[in-house]
């Protein structure tokens, strides 16, 4: 088993853990964190392929990972802001109790 394969397997495992968290947890905060984990798994793939790829001097994978981290930070800020706004209306962060569009 080559080393790239093991990095890709770790990344797939991280993605699945994030997906399981996002699909099964009731807390909206943890669902958001699960989505962040999936983005991080993609970043690990970018870095691993950059390192093992044919043209590492072009820095493409590193650049993509940097921009992806920036996008994920913006997404986390907006998501947590929305969770706060919803909490102010419905007094809950449990997803199955958020059942009305108009508080």
């Amino acid at each position: 088993m080559s080393s790239l394969t093991s990095y890709l397997l770790v990344s797939a495992l991280l993605f699945s853990i994030g997906l399981a968290g996002a699909l099964t947890r009731r807390s909206a905060i943890l669902v958001l964190i699960g989505i962040e984990l999936m983005l991080n798994a993609a970043n690990l793939n970018f870095i691993a392929f950059w390192r093992y790829g044919p043209d590492p001097e072009a820095l493409t994978g590193v650049m993509f990972a940097i921009f992806s981290i920036g996008i994920a930070a913006a997404e986390a800020a907006v998501g947590l802001g929305i969770i706060l706004a919803v909490y102010r209306h419905s007094k809950t962060t449990e997803l199955d109790q958020m059942n009305s569009m108009k508080g």
């Binding site: 991280l14 699909l23 099964t24 964190i33 870095i47 390192r51 650049m63 800020a77 947590l80 706060l84």
Partner: protein, 166 residues
């Protein structure tokens, strides 16, 4: 496959796994921080220093702290014994397991990953800065604009609504 990689991968996977299963949300974020730090160490091990340090700053620093703030602002102090998983958790877990099985099968059986050797290249800060300032300057500016807009938007969304006068 070295011992360093095995230890770092174990820390990362264990941290994230614990983060997704704990009942107390603060403990979840603590374990998540460990997972993110392990991931940053994996980036460093792969030779991507700048991305590893950015990961520490952005995730271990900013995102985890932000999540802790939101948890502290929204949690009730009383411990409830309600379930932490949704009613359809079996289906969700099954979907995640199937996704992992398919991904793992594709990775192990693919011929691309075999025989690829790690390059000696290291992404030091200087070539990254050069690339960001020349080749990728337009995406960088758009990124700055997006981050500004997103952060202002987050503040506006989360701001206490003013009661309208009359």
């Amino acid at each position: 496959m070295t011992a360093t990689f095995l230890i770092l991968a174990a820390i990362t996977v264990a941290g994230t796994l614990v983060a997704m299963t704990m009942r107390n949300l603060i403990h979840c974020v603590l374990a998540l921080t460990l997972g993110f730090a392990g991931l940053a160490a994996l980036y460093l091990q792969l030779g991507a220093q700048f991305v590893g340090l950015t990961q520490v700053l952005v995730y271990v620093g900013a995102v985890a702290i932000l999540a802790v703030f939101v948890i502290m602002m929204t949690q009730h102090p009383t411990q409830t014994n309600e379930s932490i998983v949704s009613a359809s958790w079996i289906a969700g877990g099954l979907v995640a397991a199937v996704v992992f099985a398919v991904l793992g099968w594709a990775i192990v059986s693919s011929s691309i990953a075999q025989g690829m050797l790690p390059s000696r290249a290291e992404a030091t800060v200087q070539p990254i800065g050069d690339a960001l300032m020349h080749k990728y300057v337009l995406p960088l500016e758009i990124m700055g604009l997006l981050l500004t807009a997103a952060l202002i938007g987050a503040v506006v969304v989360a701001m206490q609504e003013k009661r309208r006068a009359a």
